[in-house]
């Protein structure tokens, strides 16, 4: 049961979110220029990596914003969240903590950001 950090609301329980699959899949600008196979790749083919995965999550029961998450598909450790349009940040782990397990307890005052 993951704890996912919404960039706006901070860390929340996984059950507040909807999963959106692999991130950074851009809709082809000129679909007619693609063969059926290439269009099929866009529709269906995903990397499905063992390890580092960049994926989309939406805060369905919260602010309804979609964002991206870097998660390890083996350990389920989430390295960080970032907004659509941003590139995945390298978030350093604080020394001594078990990887990725920083559990913050406040719904709004945590690492979330405001509107500005």
């Amino acid at each position: 049961m993951l704890i996912i950090t919404c960039p706006w609301c901070g860390p929340r329980d996984q059950t507040e979110f909807a999963y959106g699959g692999e991130a950074h899949i851009v809709r082809p600008k000129d679909p007619d220029a693609l063969t059926d196979a290439e269009w099929g790749d866009y529709l269906f083919m995903r990397r499905n990596p063992r390890g580092r995965h960049l994926e989309q999550w939406g805060h369905a029961f919260g602010c309804r914003r979609w964002f991206n998450v870097e998660r390890d598909t083996v350990t389920y450790v989430i390295k960080g969240s970032y907004l659509p349009g941003e590139s995945p940040p390298e978030i350093p782990l604080s020394p001594g903590s078990a990887p990725g397990m920083e559990i913050s307890l406040s719904p709004g005052r945590g690492p979330g950001r405001g509107s500005t």
């Binding site: 706006w8 307890l105 709004g108 979330g112 405001g114």
Partner: protein
């Protein structure tokens, strides 16, 4: 039911903020999951460009806001016909919610001035701790019965 408005607008647009301030009499909350109130109105932060406004007369408030915001890219939509507002008594509110709400409801983590959109079982809810210690809960009307039933199941924790 409730005199609620949904407000959308760009928080980086000074004109937008000024227009709203002029109508409400206070600043829109820009920090995530916080509230500001004054003059019988309450503004709840719902998203980076979205607020819920609780007013005394949503139709009238909408008219005034739209007038003040003319020319700005924004949206003012009445949504009160579909919302129900419950107030849970301070003594039992947080325990009652703990059954099916995954949020950390401890007073130290969640207190007046804050709000949170979250779940209670299958329903999306908006919580706001009040100064009195009571807990306000806003939910879509068709989910209100489901919410009430879950809240009424709660029992106090076993004595240590």
């Amino acid at each position: 039911m409730s005199e609620h408005l949904n407000l959308r607008g760009n928080p980086s647009d000074a004109a937008f903020l000024a227009a709203v301030r002029g109508v409400l009499g206070f600043e829109l909350p820009l920090v995530a999951n916080t509230t500001v109130s004054g003059g019988g109105n309450v503004a709840y932060w719902l998203g980076p460009d979205e607020w819920l406004l609780a007013t005394k007369d949503s139709a009238a408030s909408a008219r005034v806001l739209l007038h003040a915001l003319a020319g700005t890219f924004c949206a003012v939509t009445e949504v009160g016909g579909g919302n129900e507002v419950l107030v849970l008594a301070a003594a039992t509110a947080r325990e009652a919610l703990a059954g099916e709400c995954p949020l950390d409801l401890d007073e130290r983590a969640f207190g007046p001035g804050q709000c949170a959109q979250t779940r209670l079982a299958h329903a999306a809810i908006l919580l706001r701790p009040l100064e009195s210690g009571d807990m306000e809960l806003v939910v879509r009307r068709s989910f209100a019965d489901h919410v009430r039933q879950h809240l009424s199941l709660a029992h106090p924790p076993e004595a240590r």
